[in-house]
């Protein structure tokens, strides 16, 4: 029994953030060179709080979440830095230790719920399996638990649906089932990697509601990964904006949407047609394309696309890598422009453009 529950008394008395990631680096050795998918990322999430991670495709969001779950199996992955879950260090921990935390203390839901569930086993079967790895209960009890979980995520008549196969569910129901599976062991950390990207708006709204409700009920720490600023605005307390494997900006949702300070974040806001404002004539795209993670530009990774780099004295944007420094109130921004100047630019130049 003690093997099944790694939650030792010391660990649960741990205070501070439930998930703490510090200076995380995940590099992949490939034939073309080293892919620096995540390069010095730090963040923390407390129980009951939601962290949103946003960024473009290939910015390292999924690689980060997989690192936390210890799911990087390929031999060419090099992971360094620190990942602490409930005070327990995971980087460098024995495989079995991390494995036992998976599903039990930390769980994950994925983007495409059809391919993420095994097509040959029933939904109930898959939930039962998740539950029984970490809980020494009879099959019958586990099945009752599975039905209960399906009920809680809003699957109608769960008693009949428990024996259905994933392909017999609709997209929204599958994602609900996936959530039921993830939450079956009552994990304190839930990582959702693009949980609604494959779903329709009306179903997306249902799933976001569900995640929010369940978080209140379970009081868990939630990390939600997405490229949709709207989704994080709905759910997140804190937001990390990633660019090319690094943190561009990090702050509370209010800070980020109220007064974003990184030129990349401005660019993102300008690129999106705004649903909540009168329609504009033109969108304001960011020029160029995201960099290759094998040849990340020297200095600030965003510099080839940044329209403000000329305002930084000297060649610092091309030579020095900016650190994510506190710009007041825990709002961190990785940009060489002085905070006051960024505020000025936002107020005078960017905000009016977006309105």
């Amino acid at each position: 029994m003690s093997l099944m529950t790694p939650t030792s008394p010391e660990a649960s008395r741990h205070t501070g953030p439930y998930l703490q990631v510090e200076d995380l680096r995940v590099h992949f050795e490939t034939d073309d060179g080293t892919v620096k998918s995540v390069d010095g990322l730090s963040f923390a999430v407390e129980k009951g709080k939601t962290l949103g991670i946003v960024g473009e495709s290939g910015s390292g969001k999924s690689v980060t979440s997989m690192a936390v779950m210890g799911l990087h199996t390929s031999k060419n992955a090099r992971i360094s830095g620190s990942i602490k879950v409930d005070g327990q260090e995971l980087v460098g921990a024995p495989i079995d230790v991390v494995r036992r935390l998976r599903g039990q203390k930390m769980a994950m839901i994925f983007q495409d719920p059809l391919s993420a569930m095994h097509p040959y086993y029933t939904v109930g079967n898959q939930i039962v399996e998740a539950y029984r790895i970490h809980n020494d209960v009879s099959k019958k009890a586990a099945r009752a638990h599975a039905i209960d979980m399906l009920d809680r995520v809003g699957i109608p008549s769960p008693r009949d649906r428990v024996d259905a196969y994933p392909h017999q569910f609709s997209g929204g129901m599958r994602q609900r089932a996936m959530i039921a599976m993830a939450l079956s062991c009552d994990p304190s950390l839930l990582i959702a990697d693009e949980p609604t990207t494959a779903l329709d708006v009306t179903v997306q709204a249902q799933i976001l509601d569900l995640i929010r409700d369940l978080q209140r009920e379970f009081h868990s720490a939630v990390v939600i990964i997405t490229h949709d600023l709207g989704v994080v605005a709905e759910l997140a307390d804190d937001i990390v904006v990633m660019y090319a494997g690094r943190k561009a900006e990090h702050g509370s949702a209010e800070q980020l949407f109220g007064e974003p300070q990184h030129p990349y974040a401005w660019g993102l806001l300008g690129s999106m047609p705004r649903f909540d404002r009168p329609p504009t004539e033109r969108l304001l795209p960011i020029k160029g394309t995201p960099p290759s993670l094998i040849n990340v530009p020297e200095g600030c990774a965003f510099n080839p696309r940044c329209e403000f780099s000329s305002r930084v004295p000297g060649e610092r944007c091309v030579t020095d890598r900016p650190e994510a420094l506190d710009a007041g109130g825990g709002h961190r921004v990785a940009c060489h422009l002085p905070t006051a100047q960024r505020r000025q630019i936002w107020a005078d130049e960017i905000a009016p453009r977006l309105a």
Binding site: A107, H118, I133
Partner: protein, 337 residues
């Protein structure tokens, strides 16, 4: 479901009919077209010192004067309803399914075939067990350790295994283990399972292993490819995210997903093997169906050849049907919508 099985069975019957027609054509129509008269054909089935009259009589009793389609129809009637056969003096009733009488020995075909079936079956089943276990486990290991020394060695061997001719490996094995070391019985010995399971297995050990080597190579490659594909599926990541031990992930989630193509090929291989392990049977001197087919072909013993073909076709058809039903067991998407 029932309807489905019936349809599959009908398809199988069709296959059998077509195969028997082709065989019939090869043995009857082709010589006729090439200009052989019924008498020349009948000469093969009488003694060397026979008169023209006996040849004619023989040709008559074999039905060679009928047009070929009629001959085929008569044969088919025998299979379906049984037939009366005259053996010179009196007529004998040959009940359905009557595969006729051997032209050579005058013995009924069916008992002869049924007599040999267990040998072929024993050979196939033992070899199949070995090659499945060996092939699948090597394939899985190779896939999991892709690029490792084991993987490269196994795949090189598999490549060699596929291309090695069985009479070579068979004879080699026979000469080393049987004749030089004396560990296994010499070729030509076969003990029915019912008499002594131990002797049965012992005698078949070498043929099994020889045959299995050939097939396991193919199965290892197939399994490896399938496993590589499934192990990169999203649901494998999910299984790991649940905290399942890697062993369970591989066996329960990975292998199950990779099973479909293996089962498909297996059904076909097994069905065919029953009547076509010719080389193995002849190298090891086993009195199986393959050997029978070869002998009868050499003797122009048409009813015997037709009988073997028919039986093998039935086996292939049944094996395919079983495979299709297995699909439904393996993949719920086939059975539920």
């Amino acid at each position: 479901m029932i309807l489905y099985i019936i349809r599959r069975l009908l398809a199988a019957v069709g296959l059998v009919v077509v195969l028997s027609m082709i065989t019939f054509a090869i043995f009857y129509l082709m010589p006729r077209l090439a200009g052989a008269s019924p008498e020349t054909l009948a000469t093969r089935y009488v003694g060397r010192s026979s008169t023209g009259a006996t040849v004619e009589q023989r040709a008559e009793s074999l039905g060679f004067y009928d047009p070929v389609p009629v001959q085929y129809w008569n044969w088919l009637k025998g299979v379906l309803f049984g037939t009366d056969v005259s053996t010179g003096a009196d007529t004998v009733r040959c009940p359905a399914p009557c595969l006729g009488y051997s032209f050579k020995t005058q013995d009924p075909v069916l008992p002869e075939i049924l007599d040999r079936l267990p040998v072929s079956f024993s050979l196939a089943i033992g070899a199949a067990v070995i090659w499945l276990v060996l092939g699948v486990s090597i394939g899985v290991l190779s896939a999991l350790k892709r690029g490792s020394f084991f993987d490269r060695a196994a795949m090189t061997l598999a490549l060699a295994g596929v291309s090695l001719p069985i009479f070579w490996t068979g004879l080699l094995a026979l000469s080393i283990f049987s004749y030089q070391l004396g560990w296994t019985p010499p070729g030509g010995s076969y003990t029915p399972f019912s008499e002594s399971p131990l002797d049965w297995a012992f005698a078949l050990l070498l043929p099994w292993v020889t045959l299995a080597l050939l097939f396991s190579a193919q199965y290892a490659r197939l399994t490896r490819a399938g496993m590589l594909e499934t192990m990169s599926e999203d649901y494998i990541r999910t299984a790991r995210a649940k905290g399942l031990p890697e062993r369970t992930v591989v066996a329960k989630h990975g292998l199950r997903g990779a099973l479909t193509p293996i089962v498909t090929i297996f059904g076909l291989d097994f069905g065919l093997l029953i009547g076509s392990a010719v080389l193995t049977e002849s190298v090891f001197g086993l009195p199986g169906l393959g050997a029978l087919a070869v002998d009868s072909t050499r003797n122009n013993d048409l009813p015997m050849v037709l009988g073997v073909v028919l039986l093998v076709a039935v086996f292939v058809a049944v094996a395919n049907l079983v495979v299709d039903l297995l699909y439904a067991v393996i993949d719920p998407r086939v059975r539920t919508r």
